[in-house]
């Protein structure tokens, strides 16, 4: 890895996780406010994360790191909806009780 490649890759890696965070945050806000635009923005953030993963797949990283990044890109997708559903299930008995 050269200096320029190192800079590009590390910035893409940071962006990769940041976009995952944006996806999670926008997904939650979309659900909270029942706002389709926010849900669309969440999907866009996830797609951009996919673009970042694609760029990283073309980078000078070793094969196994690329594979790990692509696998973790897939793993990020269900985290917000699954966590949300889990939280709803946890909260439901309390809410119905109150």
């Amino acid at each position: 890895v050269t200096g320029t490649q190192m800079l590009g890759i590390s910035l893409l890696l940071g962006l990769f996780v940041l976009l995952a965070g944006c996806y999670g945050l926008l997904y939650c806000l979309g659900r909270l406010r029942e706002n389709r635009n926010l849900a669309r923005l969440a999907r866009t953030a996830y797609l951009l994360q996919g673009v970042t993963a694609g760029l990283l797949a073309l980078s000078a990283l070793d094969f196994w790191w690329k594979a790990l990044l692509l696998a973790s890109f897939v793993a990020y997708l269900p985290i917000p909806p699954l966590t949300w559903r889990l939280l709803e299930n946890l909260h439901q008995p309390e809410e119905s009780h109150s």
């Binding site: 890895v1 050269t2 200096g3 190192m6 800079l7 890759i9 590390s10 910035l11 890696l13 940071g14 990769f16 996780v17 940041l18 995952a20 965070g21 999670g24 945050l25 997904y27 939650c28 806000l29 909270l32 000078a60 990283l61 070793d62 196994w64 790191w65 790990l68 990044l69 973790s72 793993a75 990020y76 985290i79 917000p80 966590t83 949300w84 889990l86 939280l87 946890l90 909260h91 008995p93 309390e94």
Partner: protein, 469 residues
């Protein structure tokens, strides 16, 4: 209020004082970067850096201990067992910290003998306290463990949160013992030393703050025990699952076998996943309660904790955790940038949130609100983000010019230190450090005054109800 809650308030006071010393030492250390020969032979960089880092660890530890002493009687509905001993240990702890700080400032270093190890400095980064003080800290932690376990035994009751906490206290105490041996082989020494540093920070402290936040959420938002405990168990599993072997990212370049490159990189890459779950949880809770709370400062600091942990630990950590990148970035200001953000996000914000919670009860305030908490919140967080941004710029310049282009030679190091990007980043770090320091002073003012002035409704209410005014 219980005696242990009074003790908790003392711990919080000590923690906030040490937080201030950490800020001052940090400002002095960053001035060293900007001005050559600053306080030369009086307070060298090595000394102020040591003060900065050690006070950071101790103020957070005191904050955690204070938080547990605050919540213990609420959890067990009784006074903490051995509270007298705990009160004595608090003063011993404070005296030891004061003596060690005085030795660091006025004596600084001694000859390479056993006497220096015992009386002046153990010489191991983050745990430099001389051996007598390290033994004192061990005793304090032992008494703390006894307080928690004995209270649970006496109460004949163990909640899920307390069970996790008690299990966590074993490695919290045990790992600190690694501070003692003086191993002369550098690789071997670093191998074990990282157990202490990493497994404290990315495993046992994470669980400890998880337990504290679970207890805080029940008090702050009235979230049910079932929910916080279920979520705590999931988070503990995920944090330990990724964090323990994430230790490997410290083993890349210290002379350990090359398989650590794969193990460290793999588990480090997974570390942001549970952090994303925490962000989702924070937003869900904020929405479920429609941002309505009687303690806004605590609520906002809890939110800052979730997001700060994700960005500081997750985003900034992931930028440099894969071995091919870490080869260039380790040990530069880039790492410092990540460290500042992660510690603040994961721990600093959480401790401040708990202090606000405790103050609401201690001052019997129905609503905790002020203008100054907003100022301190803004100044501290803007200052912190500015600092880590500036350090990131300097770190990138170092990684690029010194490591990647210059091949890590002494000349390359010197060239990078004079590089315009590095220098400007370092200057801006000092500027934003000033903003952060201003935020600290406003925070202290707010902590001293918030909730003391009653609204007319609050003053009248007990009288109408016939309670004590």
């Amino acid at each position: 209020m219980f005696r242990s809650q009074h003790l908790a308030l003392k711990y919080f006071t000590a923690a906030m004082t040490l937080f201030g010393i950490m800020v001052v030492a940090g400002l002095l250390a960053s001035t060293h970067y900007v001005q050559d020969g600053f306080m030369l032979n009086r307070l060298d960089f090595s000394v102020v850096k040591m003060l900065h880092i050690d006070t950071m660890i101790i103020w957070l530890l005191m904050g955690f201990i204070g938080a547990v002493y605050w919540f213990l009687p609420i959890e067990f509905e009784r006074e903490v067992e051995g509270i007298r001993l705990a009160e004595i240990m608090f003063w011993i702890f404070c005296a030891a910290v004061a003596v060690v700080a005085a030795v660091f400032i006025f004596v600084q270093y001694g000859p390479a003998t056993e006497t220096s190890l015992w009386l002046i400095n153990q010489g191991r980064k983050y745990v430099e306290a001389p051996r007598w003080a390290a033994i004192g800290i061990t005793l304090v932690v032992l008494v703390f463990v006894y307080n928690v376990v004995a209270t649970a035994v006496r109460a004949k009751k163990v909640t899920g949160i307390m069970a996790v906490l008690m299990v966590d206290l074993i490695p919290l105490f045990g790992l600190y013992l690694i501070a003692f041996p003086s191993i002369t082989n550098m690789s071997e020494d670093q191998y074990w030393w990282w157990w202490l540093v990493h497994l404290w920070v990315e495993a046992t402290w994470e669980i400890l703050i998880g337990c504290i936040m679970a207890l805080a959420l029940m008090q702050l938002l009235g979230t049910s025990r079932r929910i916080v405990e279920a979520w705590l168990f999931i988070e503990v599993a995920l944090v330990l699952g990724t964090g323990i072997l994430g230790l490997g990212h410290h083993y890349f370049w210290i002379g350990t076998p090359s398989y650590w490159l794969g193990i460290g990189g793999f588990f480090s890459a997974l570390e942001p996943l549970p952090l994303l779950g925490m962000v989702v949880h924070a937003v869900y809770d904020a929405g479920a309660h429609r941002m309505k709370t009687t303690n806004k400062p605590a609520f906002f600091w809890v939110m800052a904790e979730a997001f700060g942990n994700f960005i500081g630990g997750g985003v900034f950590g992931f930028m440099m955790t894969l071995p091919q990148i870490n080869l260039f970035t380790h040990g530069t200001q880039w790492t410092v940038s990540h460290g500042h953000f992660a510690f603040w996000g994961a721990y600093g914000c959480g401790v401040i949130a708990v202090i606000y919670l405790a103050l609401q009860k201690a001052r019997d305030a129905q609503h905790l609100e002020s203008t100054s908490w907003k100022w301190s919140f803004a100044l501290l967080n803007i200052g912190l983000v500015g600092m880590v941004g500036a350090l990131l710029v300097s770190g990138i310049a170092q990684a690029f010019y010194e490591r990647a282009m210059g091949g890590s030679t002494l000349q390359a190091f010197m060239d990078a230190q004079n590089n315009v990007w590095f220098v400007q980043g370092i200057v801006m770090r000092l500027v934003f450090g000033g903003v952060f320091a201003a935020g600290y002073f406003v925070l202290m003012y707010d902590l001293l005054t918030i909730g003391r002035r009653r609204t007319a409704a609050e003053t009248l209410k007990p009288r109408v109800a016939g309670g004590p005014a």
